[in-house]
Structures are given as C-alpha cells and as structure tokens.
Subunit: 481 residues, 2 copies
C-alpha cells in the first residue's frame, strides 16, 4: 500500500489547489431548476468534462435531448460518461455524481454570495451553493485522479463515471440513459462494472463517517371528497349538507396515529420486526435524541429511545399528512364550506413494500372508511406517484472496502445507516446493473444541502478525498467473493 | 283603508317611473369594498339623500369619520338619518337599508353590464348589481313615500330612516352611531321608535313571501399545533417526530361528526329540542329537499326529512371546518411535514348560546383532547371572532302587521323563517332600542345577491313596494299590546 500512502500525502499537500478548483466549480451557478440558468449548467458540464479529460479520463457528453419548461424547449444538460483503466485483472467501479445545484439567492438569507466559495478560516467551513451537494464529492474524485496523475501512479481499479446535470430536477433523461447503456453490453459505457459508489448524501451527524445501505421508497396519495357544485356559505348551509371537509378530515384522521403508527391494515404487518443483530446496528449508531432535537429545532421525537427513533426514520414505514387542496388556507377567517377538498399524504416505504402493494391496501381502506360515513358526497382516491425502496447487502465486499477505507482515514469504524428519503438513481443502478451499490457520503449532517449557507467542512473535503482514493485501494485489495 | 287602496293603485300605475329610478341607482357603482369606488359610494349617498328630501323627509348626513385602506385614509360614506311625521298618536317605525353594493365586473361572468339595469321583458327579471341587495328594497321605501306625496296622503305612521353605505364592508361606523343616537334620547334621531323593519334578506325560495325572525350567531376559532422550528422533509423525519398535521387532523376530527352532530360536550345540550308548535313551523314552510339540492347543486342534504334539514339551518347550531393554514395547499404533491398548522372552524350558534359560552366549552375540550395525544408539539386555541345570535318574538304586533300586509298583497300567508347566517345590525337595533325588529324581505332566494347576474324580479319590486306600504297601514291599525 505504498502507493496509498503517497496518495494521501499528496492530497494533504495539494489542499490549496483542490480548494481553488472547488471555488471555480461553485462560481458557476449551475441551477438546473431555473431555465434562465440553463446556460450555466451547460457551462458547468463543459468545465467538468475538461477537467476529466485533462486528468486522463476518456469521456462522452451524452445528449439526452430537450425538455419543455414554461412552454420553452430547453436543452437537457449532457450526461458525462467517462472511463479510465481497462485492466481485466482489476475491479471496475462506477462512480456517480451530479454537477447541477439547488437554487440560491443572497436574498434568501445567505450570509455570503452563494456562488462564491467563502472560507471561514477559524472553523474551516467553506460556504457556497453546491459545496457539499454535490460539487465537493464530485471534485473529490477529481482530486483522486489528480493525485495519481501527478505522482505517476496507476489507479488500483478501473473507473467508470456518470455525472449528470439534472439531479435537482428529477434526473430527467438519466434513468433511460443508464438502462440503454447497460442494454448495449460490451458496447456500452458501463460494461464490466463490478460495483457502484455514489457520494451524494451526508453523515447523520457532524462527527461520524457513515456508509448508507438503504433508502425508503414512497407512495404519494390524493384523496378527494366533493359535494356541492360550488363553495357554500356556512351560515346558509352549515348543518344542512354533508360537508366535504368534515368527511375528509375524518378520513385523514384514520390513517396514522399521533404516535406515528399507520392505521391502514396490512401496512405495518409487511415489515418484519428488527432482529437482535439489526437492532444492534441502531443501538450503536453515533446519534442521539439531542441530535434529532437540534436538527428539527424542538424536543418532539416520537420516542425517548434512540434505537426506536432511528428505526422510525430508517427501517420503518411512515405516513405524513402534507396538506389539503381546495380548503381555505389563508390567514384570518373565512366562513366557507369548500365544495371539493383533496387531502395529500404519503407513505415512506421499506422492503418488501412497493408503491403498488401499498396502493392495494390504501385505496380500498379509504373507500371502506368512507362508506361507513354514509355520506352523500363523492370520493376519489388516487396515487400521484411512487418510488421503490432500496436496500443493499452491507456485508458485501464493496461495503467492506469502504469500511476499511474509513477506518484507515478517520481511525474509526463508520456508522451503518439507512436514510428516510430516496435517491432514485441508486435503485436504477442496482436494478439495471445487478451489482452492489454503496452510498459513501463526504459531507456532514449540518451541511444544509438545500438550505441557505450550504457549506462543506475543509476537513471533510480533504479527508473525504483521501477516503474516496483509499476506498479504491481497499476495493483492489479485497477478495471479490 | 281607502288610502291603502289608492296607494296600491298608484304603485301599479307608477311602475315605469319607479323602475327608471332603480336604473338611476344601479348606474352608480357604489362598491364599498373598493377604495377606487369610494367617490361613487359618496355619490350614491348624496343621490339617496336628495331623493329623501324631495319626498319630504328631513335628513342628516351623519359623518362617521375615516378609515384606512391599504395605507390610505378614506372617508366613510355618511349614514343617512331621516325622519318624516311626528304624530304622538301614531306608531313610529324605523327603517334600515344600505346603499352600497358588492363588487361586480362584467368579466366576472355577468351577461350584461352590472351597473346598467337590464330588463328581460319575457321573464320580468331586472338585472344589475344592487337591484336586490339592497337598492331595490331601499327604493321600495322611496316608492311608498312618493305615492303618498303624489296622492296627498298622510303616512299612517311616523317614519325614521337609517341608510348606510358600508354594509358590504362590515358596517364600519354604524354600530357606534346607532348606540350614540339611542343614548341621546329625545335629542337623537331614533327617539320614540316603536319597532324596526329591515328589508335586506330574501325569500327562501322563488314562490313564497316570508318574515324572518331569527339569525344564527357565530364563534370562529383557530387551533394551532406547532412542532419543529421549520418545515421538515418527510423522508428524513417521517416517524421520527410528532407531526403537527397529524395532531391537528386528530383534533379537527373530534369536533363534528360527518352527520353534522357537534361533539364538543355541552354545545348541543344548550339548545332545547323544538316543541310541537315550533316543529310545525318548519313542517309547513314552503321549501323542499329539492330546493336545497338545487341551491347547492348536488343531492347532499344531511337528512331526507324536510323539517330536520330546515331546523339544521335555522334553529340548530352547526360546526364547519373551513381549512388549514400553514399546510401544503397547492396542486400536485409536496413531501413536507409542515412546522406549524392552524385549523380554522366556526360554529353557527343559536339562543341561548353566545360566543363566550361556546368559547368556554370549545377551548378546554380541545386542550383536553390534545393532552390525550401525549404529543410533544405545542397547542394554541383562540377565538378569532364572534357574533351573537338573534331571535325575535314572531307573535309581536310588528310581525302580525307584516303577516296581514303579506296576505293583503300576495293573497297568502308568509312563511316564518330563521336564517343560518347573520345580519349584525339586526342585533344592534334590537339590543340598543329594546324594540321588536322585523326582517321583511323583498327579493327571491335566487336573486344572487353576491353573485354574477344579480337580479330583482319586477313583480317583487312592485308588489314588494306595495307590501312595505301596506305594512305601514297594518302597523297603524293593529293594537300595540
């Protein structure tokens, strides 16, 4: 592992150069959700492509067409496909990241210009939109390539790259491209990939590196109760007609208890209780009730038991009521009986639950509950969207390599976590390639990825770059059985 | 009653002149809610004042000051106080009406210019903003005065007038003025008033004249549940924290059943069941389930029994859920856990209920129900506003006079109705003067007072003018014991 040691030293020595490159990347406001910023997204893609090529990566800017925004046809940013190394004796790892960012305006409440990397020397925090999500991690891979090129070292594995510019806008074009590249077999850019590594999430806290092996899926529902042909005045019609709001609130009140238990029969039963070994993972996680309370700004956890709270987020389904469309939502008072109201709620789901299996339980249950009301109003239940949950085998050599790399760089074992939200590309890679996918975060839980004052700690950027490179060495060293 | 007969004939003969005057009134767009229209409201007040004076009424334009709209100080339209007749042998009746109107734009969906009275000769419908609410009824009184002046007849009663220009804008300035005039005793404009007549509501249907003797009051509540310091993502925090929406929906679901029964202990108990005599009023009303269904555009009445439905509107309290502030209310889906949500609901209340007595039941009930949840979120319950219910003695000679007048003009007995909404000035007159108040509508239930294509039927205007005059003769004739 002489090479690995030289690599790490180089990373330390080159920190100023790497931070300068991150500043260049942050300075390009590649906001994919803003049509006016689309040229900047394209510029960012070109910049990243140049960087990859200058570091020895063969690339292709995959054109995935256009899409229509506000009646205007916009070019989708290219998906950058890349490869370096083609040694059949080596493992091949596919790396994913994204070069677009969330919107940001100084007026949103940023303390500094969001598109200028500003470093607080006293804390080592580097503020800027995209610093943590996801330009920092993407540039971490560039740092690894840079070090090897500068030191004249050969990479310990073959690498493949997939960097998109639409992650913050539903990854338009990505999933089809992945499936089509996989379908091309030997002629595709993903041929021979043994495992995938995605660095696009965060540590749970500010202290402990983690490996993430699971994501919840989602099933989003809209339940509509309709009555009169127009809004009514409650003076004239209160206690005269069946009021859609009364019916809807009754139905929404029969979905989940204030303790978070899902009342739809069958939903909870689909998930086996955690066994001793699994529960032990949660007990050991470096995360406290106080961490949750700090994150949400109030002492409102459903339980005072850490493992229960963490399992609630990571391995249990949840049901949240998001709001009501069609009812009065303004300030002050209005004496309306709304004619038609739609409740919005969603379930976060875990294996073996699927959106379809959840829908098959939710729709008849709401219909049955509504029937009990003997209301003369009309009911409609629909699933607005769904996404599958994902879970990887965390005993796989891909995870073992990441664990060893974490121990080497951070001198501690990583936490093994699952996340409550979803990163759809994870599932697309896992399903279409049929290989193990690892989520290996670089940033911390307080980076504020989609908020004002997004930051990446300097140490996370530098140690994180070492982590990514060391992971490649551990991948090379570990038996792939 | 020779005079009454001559009066009625004159009204018939003068219909074209009266309709022409109504057209003049409708042509002044006296929209009190629109600051830009305030000069038109003042113009309408001046026009009405001129009319009254030319018909022999002594008037005063009471200045009630200014109010601030969008940072701009606007003059409140004057309240027109008037008197004609001062014979101690005669009864004195106080008449109320308003000369402002609801907003109206052709683009709202009007078939004709809303500020031009357009008569459909085939149906006799006279379309125009204010035709029915409330310029038609106010001009009905002018027609009565006009007839007596033209015929050289003395009015059978002393009359007092109170016409305001802010009824559609919370009657700003009116209530204080009434109380202050009453307090002046002999020096006030309302001295010696024996009864009040307000013509500012509608028949229940399109067929049957009615007298209205009750109005429901209101108690409007806002219940707020707050949890995290900011909105959360349901992926990260679903089944981690107590969600304010879940708690709020639970609370809102415990206020009223889908059948309309109020679940707050004590609220229903305050209202005595209808006795046989009272129930008989509802049974006899010329109103059908089909009338309700037509009005609301759907077959959604809470009961198939007519009297039950009508009592639900007129003599029972009701509770309506209006909406939620702070939750997601847009179209499509959003996976938010709202940080703080406020449910809005109100009760329509009936004697002996008062806003305060209702508040004393509602607030502790919600607090107790919330305590049962063992939620760590925070609760706040407040009453945003309230209005007292009103009910008059419908056996009073004031009502008897109106009943006899209706029978004389329409050849049928009027329905005795209560309304579900409120007309606050009614209560102010009843309480400050301590006399019987009669609601004597001119228009029909389908006039569309606050809608597009507001109309008044020609026959309602002409026969209604006769009704108002005949009512004065019956008032004069009836013993005031």
């Amino acid at each position: 592992m002489e090479a690995a040691v030289a690599f790490s030293s180089y990373i330390d020595e080159s920190a100023p150069k790497f931070i300068h490159r991150l500043a260049q990347a942050v300075a390009i406001p590649s906001v994919s959700t803003d049509a006016a910023r689309r040229p900047d997204v394209l510029k960012m893609g070109a910049w990243l492509n140049d960087q990859l090529q200058s570091l020895g990566v063969t690339t292709k800017l995959a054109d995935v067409g256009t899409h229509v925004v506000d009646g205007q046809a916009l070019p989708l940013p290219p998906i950058i496909l890349g490869r370096i190394g083609n040694d059949p004796q080596k493992k091949t790892v596919l790396v994913y990241g994204h070069y677009d960012v969330q919107p940001a305006e100084k007026s949103d409440g940023w303390d500094t210009d969001p598109f200028q990397l500003v470093i607080d020397e006293s804390t080592g925090r580097m503020f800027g939109r995209g610093s943590s999500d996801d330009k920092g991690p993407v540039l971490g891979w560039l740092n690894v390539l840079d070090a090897h090129k500068a030191l004249g070292l050969e990479l310990p594995v073959n690498m493949r790259f997939c960097f998109e510019g639409m992650e913050e806008s539903n990854s338009e074009g990505l999933h089809d491209l992945i499936r089509s590249e996989v379908a091309k077999g030997k002629d595709g850019w993903f041929d021979g990939v043994d495992c995938v590594c995605i660095s696009d999430n965060y540590w749970m806290n500010t202290r402990t590196p983690c490996l993430t092996y699971g994501l919840r899926g989602i099933a989003y529902f809209k339940v509509t109760v309709s009555g009169p042909s127009r809004d009514l005045h409650s003076g004239g019609f209160g206690r005269v007609v069946h009021e859609p709001m009364t019916d809807l609130v009754y139905l929404l009140g029969r979905l989940v208890t204030p303790k978070g238990e899902i009342l739809i029969p069958g939903v909870e039963d689909m998930v086996a209780p955690a066994d001793v070994e699994e529960r032990d993972i949660y007990e050991k996680l470096d995360y406290t009730i106080a961490d949750v309370e700090e994150a949400v700004g109030a002492p409102i956890t459903l339980s005072d038991d850490k493992a229960t709270v963490l399992m609630g987020r990571m391995r249990m389904p949840s049901l949240s009521l998001h709001g009501i469309e069609g009812a009065y939502s303004g300030p002050g008072g209005k004496t309306v009986i709304p004619a038609s109201v739609s409740g919005k709620f969603s379930l976060r789901i875990v294996p073996p639950q699927t959106p379809e299996s959840i829908k098959a339980l939710v729709v008849p249950y709401i219909e049955q509950e509504f029937a009990k009301l003997e209301s003369k109003n009309r009911l409609a239940v629909e699933m607005l969207g769904g996404g599958m949950p994902w879970m990887a085998d965390y005993k796989h050599w891909n995870y073992e390599a990441a664990r060893r790399a974490t121990e080497a760089v951070y001198k501690r074992s990583p936490d093994l976590t699952r996340e409550g939200g979803s990163i759809p590309v994870t599932l697309t890679f896992a399903e279409s390639l049929g290989v193990n996918v690892l989520l290996l975060p670089m940033g911390r839980g307080d980076d504020g990825a989609h908020s004002t004052n997004e930051k990446l700690d300097r140490s996370n950027f530098i140690e994180g770059s070492k982590l990514l490179g060391t992971y490649l060495y551990e991948l090379a060293a570990i038996p792939s059985q």
